[in-house]
Symmetry: C2
Subunit: 235 residues, 2 copies
Amino acid sequence: MPDSRTPSGDQPSDQTVPKVVVSRISLYLRELQRLQAAGQQTISSGTLGALLGFSDAQVRKDLGFFGQFGYPGVGYRCDELIHAMRDILGTNHRWPVVMVGVGNLGQALLGYRGFGRQNFSIEAAFDTDPSKVGTVIQGLTIRDVAELPEVVRRLGIRLGMIVVPADRAQEVADRLVAAGIDGIVNFAPVTLTLPPHVETVAVDLAIELEQLSFAVTNKFGKPAGEGPAGAQEPR
Amino acid sequence: MPDSRTPSGDQPSDQTVPKVVVSRISLYLRELQRLQAAGQQTISSGTLGALLGFSDAQVRKDLGFFGQFGYPGVGYRCDELIHAMRDILGTNHRWPVVMVGVGNLGQALLGYRGFGRQNFSIEAAFDTDPSKVGTVIQGLTIRDVAELPEVVRRLGIRLGMIVVPADRAQEVADRLVAAGIDGIVNFAPVTLTLPPHVETVAVDLAIELEQLSFAVTNKFGKPAGEGPAGAQEPR
DNA sequence: CGGTGTGAAAGTTTTCACAGCG
DNA sequence: CGCTGTGAAAACTTTCACACCG
């Protein structure tokens, strides 16, 4: 484009990037990390796409939203692309996170190693149940929700996870917002009402099963021959 | 359309329904169940949409993929629409499900009440760890994965959940497919290769946090400002 | 009225196809 | 060569706007 230097992530980006593109970036990153761990140095858009069930053009277009990262005739260097995608996603630095709700699911998430692998670290966990407050789970002392504002401020935390029952989720969301949080992952099966400056991502496990139920139910009412090989469709 | 009888879910559906429409159907259903529990009899597309952040037209168009369910001037009857949407999603009947992997997360999912609420029931759980096989968790006796085919056949199970580490997920998927499963929810952070007749839904918890990281990082690069995520050190 | 259902228009995302580069 | 980056075309999704209904 402007000149002919070595590829690098310059910023043509000012257009607004579709959400679905960002979710694919996460999938590219995940796959690249696997490839790198397997010793692969470079990869082409075609190969990367095939591993995930996307076209080569889609991979290139997606990356094109953020800059130029490839080498014509060669492909992309895994290490460079991983670094670039972490920059895009904001995960080249560590994110401290708070969790509210340490029931079944909350406790499991506290022990999930996958967060740390992508540079997220649950730094504090809260509950309202007095029988839980003060106990130690996965090395963390559970605190009373009343301490939320102080802890968020002291640790400079911007992200929170809601892992409480549906009927308590909005109240917890309000507390997180009041404490100054910028983004929330909501595992409760309810839609939160939030001020527009707070970002949110919803995960509803029952809905995932419903989507599968629909797909399986309607499998034999579809068009004929379906897609390429058996690559899994991304969410 | 054809005649003027009471609205009901007849099926103009043969067009292929976009996935994003199906995911909104799940959200409509969730909200309707909440409204019904709160005693509401009817709801308009505008009100329902507003509760979820969608336009009235979107709600009507989405429902239009599956039939005619509304009463002009009135809206939709909650009980009817709930039933219709369960029919669409295939959750008016109970789905028995198998789970493979009863680590941290698997055990939490075994205890999650939200599945039962939407008519899914985890009927059997498997692991390969001999120290887990034979133990009872959440009232279920954990079985050896070798028993998968027999149990799936005997209980007529069509859906499976993969809750094992990434490096074991493909092998487990192959076993589920061999056992005759039709759909898989995959919680492992890896893309599965599956035959085209097997449906799949992927849930990657770290990716959800990454999406939030991106949104928060770029919140102030949206309207006019500079520097969304491109910056990278020139090589 | 207040609301649905639905073509047609607008907007968005994906695919195509090809110039250009090492 | 093999592959990227990217306009332009195609496909798809959302919004608009309005006839019609109770």
